[in-house]
Subunit: 100 residues, 3 copies
Amino acid sequence: MDTVPLKLVTIIAEAVLEDRLLRELRELGARGYSVGAVEGQGSRGVRAVDFEGKNSRIEVIASEEVTDRILEHVAQTYFQHYAVIAYVSDVAVVRGDKYV
Amino acid sequence: MDTVPLKLVTIIAEAVLEDRLLRELRELGARGYSVGAVEGQGSRGVRAVDFEGKNSRIEVIASEEVTDRILEHVAQTYFQHYAVIAYVSDVAVVRGDKYV
Amino acid sequence: MDTVPLKLVTIIAEAVLEDRLLRELRELGARGYSVGAVEGQGSRGVRAVDFEGKNSRIEVIASEEVTDRILEHVAQTYFQHYAVIAYVSDVAVVRGDKYV
């Protein structure tokens, strides 16, 4: 089966940020995402308590270039004031040319 | 901890396809799956609009052989008419011999 | 973008075990987790039937050391009597120093 090596970016953030994040992700070049509801607790630290409760778990399949842009944006825009988690893994995507 | 290197196949499809997909995955040799509800938007293209809304996110742990069979089946059966996303990542599975 | 290579541990277990598991994960050193609801079916075997139904999908970002501790604990505590699934993948985490 032909697959394309791409990045899977997972962002976990307060549900109230979801619409704004999805709009920004599209503007940064993301195509194809899914959003699920999770409950979570962030890393230790002053904001951990605020992070408990309803969060959105956003998954985006993207090229390495778009992934870098997304991570930069999320770090610069949200990490100071929001308990956002962002991580990346390698995936092999069927029909992956649609995501780049 | 002893783990077995296996594949994690994630399939995101319209919720209406879920029962059929799970039955087919079992027939293709999948053991052990989980299904969550997500909202999503597919890659750009004519069917992107149809894909917004309630989707099922199906995860299957499988051998490389079963994974290939699943991807072939999903690509041949669904990609022309449905906005299905399928991707694979490497996982180390505890008690992984149960999945092959 | 600076990221830290860490492990993403995914544990899928009966929802009734969730509170206990999360408490144990914290005691084992986990920081930052998210929990989603999934439906699932375990690997073939005598307990597969019991496993159908509502499950919790717990994701934890952790160091390799904490990951090993979590997998050992889950295997020793739950695998004999519960249909728990546990697997690990490699992730690159933004602001990952918060999780070790």
